[in-house]
């Protein structure tokens, strides 16, 4: 009886102590967790939200938005819609003087050229009948195109940026059309990005494996020195490394000059090694190589030489011993390295932007272009979200095929 009570009390005390330990552990992680949520998760979710949600039109012009959504996009625009549009659109100035032009910028993405027409409405004095007044102001208002654009921006939730990210466009009547040939590029670039990432991973594996093997075999003193050589690029700015490749590879660069001086190539026949896909592959492989070598090295360091010796003593050739015994043991490191390099390569942007020219542009360069130049953040977010989803899917597949718990990252 007492023993049972004692045991019970003991279990309680143990549970309490464990709970205290957990809370203490959580408190230790809490600052980092808060930091990650605030500086990483919140902005990412905010940007993803931007891609599919905007209530600018639906809250500032609620009646017009409702009428536009009810409209079938085929029949002529009703006077009720014209009147509601003119009054509400002009009234948005009260929310913010820049509101009409902000809405106009938004609409202009769906129908190029509508910005100046909308701004003209905001500044004009119009009287009933409004449809007539609008078409008097500009003939464009008697056509349906600009109203189609307004209908597209009216709902708060819209898949149009996601569709645009995969080279499709949403029509005002809800149907979907393919992007015109001259503007369609995203699918092709997603494909190119995956191919470049796969190639860079392959090159990193081919180049990194022997280096890691060498590092693992050498005595500590020499291998430490070599390790510094491997890590040196890690400590150098990405920009500096990329610019160094420009100096090496360009038309009048170090390598071309050397080849000409040695008489290998003619002066007027220098190969183009810069501002193309070749330069992108070379520079990215160099920049990402440490991410392959480090996990490989840490795994190889832990492989006991006895295994290979045992294989040899049982009659295996050196190749068989390597291929059947040593290589399978390095898979956790190789797998981790490939995953790191591949995922980093998919999002790479500065290196291709600087050395890629036109054939070396990747999807991330399009994202940057829309972030910085066209300020079309919703589209940039939509493309970025698709990229993120793609990476997660690949990660999931990888986990199913290789198993992430077996990886050794360093």
């Amino acid at each position: 009886m007492t023993e049972a009570v004692n045991r019970h009390a003991l279990a309680n005390r143990l549970a309490r102590a464990e709970r205290r330990g957990k809370i203490r552990a959580f408190l230790l992680v809490a600052p980092l967790l808060a930091f990650v949520i605030l500086s990483f998760a919140v902005p990412i979710l905010g940007l993803i939200g931007q891609a599919g949600y905007s209530d600018m039109v639906s809250t500032s012009m609620p009646k017009t938005a409702t009428l536009l959504l009810q409209w079938d996009a085929k029949s002529p625009v009703t006077e009720e819609l014209c009147a509601s549009f003119v009054t509400e659109f002009k009234a948005t100035k009260a929310i913010d003087p820049a509101m009409p032009s902000r809405i106009a910028t938004f609409v202009n993405r769906e129908y190029s050229g509508s910005l100046s027409k909308l701004k003209a409405v905001a500044n004009a004095t119009l009287a009933a009948p409004y449809c007539q007044a609008l078409s008097d102001l500009n003939d464009e208002w008697s056509k349906l195109d600009i109203w189609h654009a307004l209908k597209l921006v009216a709902p708060s939730f819209s898949p149009r940026y996601f569709l645009q990210a995969i080279d499709l466009r949403l029509n005002a009547d809800g149907s979907i059309r393919a992007e015109s040939d001259e503007n369609a590029i995203h699918i092709a670039l997603f494909g190119r990005t995956l191919m470049v990432a796969a190639l860079v991973t392959l090159f990193c594996a081919l180049l990194g494996f022997p280096v890691a093997f060498l590092l693992a075999q050498l005595p500590a003193k020499t291998s430490n020195l070599l390790m510094i050589v491997v890590l040196l690029p890690f400590w150098t700015s990405l920009l500096v490394r990329t610019t160094a490749w420009i100096a090496l590879l360009q038309q009048n660069g170090v390598i071309n000059d050397l080849l000409v001086a040695l008489g290998v190539i003619a002066d007027d026949n220098r190969p183009v090694m810069m501002y193309n896909m070749f330069a992108t592959l070379v520079a990215m492989t160099h920049v990402l190589l440490p991410f392959m070598i480090l996990p490989l090295y840490s795994v190889m360091k832990g492989i006991k030489p006895n295994f290979v010796r045992a294989a040899r003593s049982l009659g295996a050739t050196s190749f068989t011993a390597f291929w059947r015994i040593y290589f399978p043991l390095t898979i956790p490191g190789l797998g981790a390295g490939c995953l790191l390099v591949f995922i980093l390569a998919i999002g790479y942007y500065i290196t291709p932007a600087l050395v890629g020219g036109q054939s070396g542009q990747l999807i991330s360069n399009i994202i940057a272009f829309h972030m910085q130049k066209t300020l079309n953040w919703p589209l940039a977010s939509a493309i970025g979200t698709l990229l993120l989803v793609g990476v997660l899917v690949l990660y999931w597949l990888y986990n199913r095929l290789v198993g992430i718990e077996k990886m050794k990252f360093a």
Binding site: A98, M99, T105, S112, L115, N252, L375
Partner: protein, 362 residues
């Protein structure tokens, strides 16, 4: 005990820092494009203004575009007070609610007494942005690369048979499309009319197609002179001042072709929600007055946006190079020139850039 001393020292340092911040209440952050251009602004605008008002200026560089301004305004954490943008960006940023409105009629009169709205050249004043200078998008070449015939016309830029070598171009639709049309024989006056049609855009891209494989893209204004100097390209588009400075001060063999030049204004704008709006406005009023605008031409060959500044433009800082022939507004350089159509680009920027970036990627 030791710890307390440390703490006191730390607290003292913090207090000292906040005191410094308080003493510099009149401090503004001015952001521009860097290089020789920013130097000219520091010498002609910033130093005299700091001397006059006792305020200080933190000068920062950027690469153009409105992304940073948009990020600051949207997050409500505006750290830039004055930013140098092209007119078209001044207008689109104003449309997007990113800039404060500026009442140009309150700017100082010209030194000759002209009212500000009359004194600025047409197009130099927009709702949110006040122009300082007009620069030109031109193309230049390395004269040592063409010992025989020299390029003289905008069409020569697209003639890689007669003038072999790579071409540098800015990675943006603006300027390149207009240039392609002019090279294809469209008269300067009709460029934007043609570009407003689907056929016109097709025609421009078709012309660009002819040299696509020879183009090296640049993004920052400092790149074109580097591309020319390294021999990576034999011809490149550039801002005229960026080729002038190395040609005059370092005797580089760079020659500017004015045929088909495209003039653009550079303007000052105040990001919406700037914490030092009053001081920022004062700086803009000072720097866009007659004398500072004329002084800037001592350092870079960009034309002042005020008519009253033009007669005051003299020599380069070396004291011997006459600036007038190097100005985009010099009549000799204006024979075949266009002024960038800000309204056209506000309407078509997104559409044409989407097509442009798709064209590059193919």
């Amino acid at each position: 005990m030791k710890m307390t001393t440390g703490m006191t020292a730390l607290l003292g340092a913090v207090a000292a820092l906040s005191l410094t911040a308080a003493a510099h209440a009149g401090q503004i952050t001015v952001v521009s494009w860097g290089g020789a251009y920013t130097t000219s602004q520091v010498e002609a605008y910033q130093k005299p203004w700091m001397t006059k008002t006792g305020n200080t200026i933190v000068s920062a560089d950027y690469n153009g575009g409105l992304a940073e301004v948009k990020a600051q305004v949207q997050s409500g954490n505006v750290t830039w007070d004055v930013v140098d943008v092209e007119t078209s960006e001044g207008v689109s940023g104003c449309n997007d609610g990113l800039f404060e409105k500026i009442d140009a009629s309150k700017l100082p009169k010209g030194d000759n007494g002209a009212a500000p709205l009359d004194d600025f050249v047409p197009g130099a004043i927009t709702d949110c942005a006040i122009s300082t200078i007009a620069y030109a998008n031109i193309f230049g070449y390395d004269s040592t690369k063409f010992p025989g015939d020299k390029p003289t016309k905008v069409a020569d830029f697209f003639d890689t048979k007669k003038f072999p070598g790579k071409r540098g171009m800015k990675k943006e639709a603006k300027v390149n499309l207009e240039m392609a049309l002019m090279a294809d024989g469209v008269a300067a006056a009709d460029v934007y009319k043609v570009l407003a049609t689907k056929e016109g855009v097709d025609r421009a891209f078709k012309k660009l197609d002819t040299i696509k494989s020879s183009i090296v893209w640049w993004e920052a204004g400092a790149q074109p002179p580097q591309l020319l100097a390294s021999g990576e390209v034999t011809m490149t588009t550039a801002y005229n001042g960026r080729l002038f400075t190395p040609a005059v001060t370092e005797n580089k063999p760079f020659v500017i072709v004015w045929d088909g030049q495209q003039q653009v204004f550079d303007t000052w704008a105040i990001p919406k929600g700037s914490k030092n709006k009053e001081a920022a406005l004062d700086f803009i009023a000072f720097s866009t007055s007659t004398k500072p605008l004329a002084d800037q031409a001592k350092y870079i060959p960009y034309g002042p946006a005020r008519k009253s500044s033009a007669p005051l433009v003299g020599k380069f800082q070396d004291g011997k190079t006459d600036m007038a022939p190097h100005m985009p507004t010099n009549p000799e350089n204006m024979k075949n020139a266009i002024v960038q159509d800000v309204k056209f680009w506000a309407d078509h920027y997104d559409e044409l850039n989407e097509r442009f970036i798709a064209w590059i990627g193919k």
